[in-house]
Amino acid sequence: MAQMNMLEAIRDAMRIELKRDSNVLIFGEDAGKVGGVFRVTEGLQEEFGEDRVFDTPLAESAIAGMAVGMGIQGFRPIAEIQFVGFIFEALDQMFIQAARMRYRSGGRYNSPIVFRTPFGGGVKAAELHTDSLEGLAIQTPGIKVIIPSNPYDAKGLMISAIRDNDPVFFMEHLNLYRAFKADVPEGEYTVEIGKANVVREGSDVTIIAYGLMVHTAVKAAEELEKTGVKAEVIDLRTLLPLDIDTIVASIQKTNRAIVVQEAQKTSGVAAEVIAQINEKAILHLEAPVLRVAGPDTVYPFAQIEDAWLPSVARISAAVQKVLNF
């Protein structure tokens, strides 16, 4: 076991896969020599050479599109989009070209690509560095969407993503990169894509979250426990495919649930979770499933982002609402 923060765990996963498979490559803006603006790929160019880990010109569409072209020739690119807001420049290549390659070619070609991008609020970053755009991604047929919440999952999920023969959108929360260290096994292991994790058991209410919000939800659960409420917290880990079975199993026990997301409220991950609960567990519910989310505005400037983001207080209030329904 080693102690790693999430950034180091992601780097460790990439190092293991670069070593294991010569077709794995890393590229992106500033991703080579210095290891990216957050140093996630730091030291990898030194270890594996510029042929495997390299800087690109500043053009996100070309980064993603080059990954598609290399992908159909047997490489397994890890393409870094420097900040989440820049994915808009690359959306055609990520969400159309890579995502449809297998279908359009009837399985002749595929896109074994990991698109990595940092995202997430609460770090006083510049505009369009912090938005939660996973809702756009989960409406895209042909890709998988992952948001890890801790170093162990991040490493295991990254290794799974690199080995996956379909494109994976891997979103890394800025506020978790260096937030804490945790035990991470040395060497290779995988965390299965499409499996949620019950991070805290409880019997009164289920709080469903992902990314940074898992930690906010756990804090809320700890506060609630002081008032005698036992909240179960589920970390989705993968947003597409969604692990509805774990959610349903929890609701069968608690009969009440809320979903927490940083993203704007309408039509996102929370809405999809609730729709699937409606399809599969409605008779187990004692109250409507509520959402705690950002309002339907643009992600705000740094001055008010803490007020904008879901908080322990807002999560606790939503839990009280479903308990008192």
Binding site: G65, V68, G69, I96, D164, L242
Partner: protein
């Protein structure tokens, strides 16, 4: 407007040409090295493709083909550029570039299936090195760039070629792709078939650059302009660019000046934006007529040859459209199973609604 002494200087470019309109060799130095058999093969392919195009337009009217982008007029740029490649070179086409795919090895009935909206159209055989036609204008330019990057990393002596039109040269992906190829010195050819119109928008409204070929300058790659109605000029340009790519000398942008004799698609009416005079002027440059005259003078081709190829093409088209029509229809379950390597549970559940 006078130029400032410290301003970047550019000069107009002269298009590469080999044959005059009468089929006389005007630039013997630029003649590509081809045997008589090869010259005849090029003519065979152009006549075949013209006939196929005529038949496809009719099949479209009969409802036996779906979306179809006619190719007549562009045979020299299409057939010539593909003929100059090796079989293991890789083609990333635009939506009109089906002839290059077929002559590179895609069975014709699969081209028809693609037009009919059947997935099997895109199931490229293992030994055929092409992508399916691209619909997003310019997206394929980046795929070719990535394919070329792969060839370079694997030390393979192969080149990637991608096609777009004058409209596509205005896309961001066009600049991004060429710029990457310049930086990494990639074995890739950016072929722009400038047929004068992006659907209806004339070239004059597409760019203020002296030519599309000039755009290579900004990316630090080589740019050339070719008479795209002169198949020998096209072959010469692409052969040279491919050789440079294979030798590690980087990418080439080739602008081919051409014209589509028919409308943009079956739903387009070219009389709304082109004049009869202009069409008549370009008809005089017909690549089949021009190359045919050259071959006739050399005693390599006769009108009987043309008629024979036409009949052969008609028979082949008939055979392949029948084959395409006989392929089993797609199913929603099959669609679902082709989204991922392993169909995830949520899609398995959705499949049940369609069985």
């Amino acid at each position: 407007m006078s130029k400032l002494p410290y301003e970047v200087q550019t000069e107009p470019v002269t298009p590469l040409s080999v044959l005059s309109l009468d089929g006389e060799v005007v630039n013997p130095d630029l003649m590509p090295a081809l045997t008589d058999e090869q010259l005849k093969e090029v003519m065979y392919r152009m006549v075949f493709t013209r006939t196929w195009d005529e038949r496809a337009v009719n099949l479209g009217r009969q409802g036996r083909l779906g979306f179809y982008a006619p190719v007549s007029g562009q045979e020299a740029s299409m057939i010539g550029s593909e003929y100059a490649l090796n079989k293991d070179d890789f083609i990333c086409p635009g939506y009109r570039d089906m002839p290059q795919l077929v002559w590179h090895g895609l069975p014709l009935y699969q081209a028809f299936l693609y037009s009919r909206g059947h997935q099997h159209g895109g199931q490229i055989p293992q030994d055929v090195h092409v992508l399916m036609p691209q619909i997003i204008i310019g997206a394929q330019i980046l795929h070719a760039t990535g394919v070329a990057m792969a060839f370079k990393k694997k030390n393979e002596k192969r080149v990637a070629i991608t096609y777009t039109g004058d409209g596509g040269s205005s896309e961001g992906d066009f600049y991004e792709g060429m710029n990457f190829a310049g930086v990494y010195k990639l074995p890739v050819i950016y072929a722009v078939q400038n047929n004068g119109y992006a659907i209806t928008t004339p070239f004059a409204k597409q760019t203020a650059a002296l030519s599309i070929a000039h755009k290579a300058v900004a990316a630090g790659i080589r740019g050339i302009q070719v008479d795209g109605m002169d198949v020998l000029a096209v072959i010469k340009a692409v052969q040279e660019a491919a050789e440079r790519g294979r030798n590690g000398e980087g990418a080439t942008l080739i602008e081919m000046l051409t014209y589509r004799f028919r409308p943009h698609s079956m739903a387009d009416d070219a009389t709304k934006y082109r004049t009869k005079e202009e069409e008549a002027e370009w008809a005089l440059k017909d690549p089949l007529v021009r190359f045919g005259k050259y071959l006739e003078k050399k005693g390599l081709w006769t009108e009987e040859d043309t008629n024979r190829v036409k009949e052969e093409a008609k028979a082949t088209v008939n055979e392949h459209i029948k084959k395409a029509e006989a392929v089993e229809k797609m199913t929603v379950a099959g669609l679902i199973d082709s989204m991922f390597e392993t169909t995830p549970q949520y899609l398995e559940e959705q499949k049940a609604d369609f069985q």
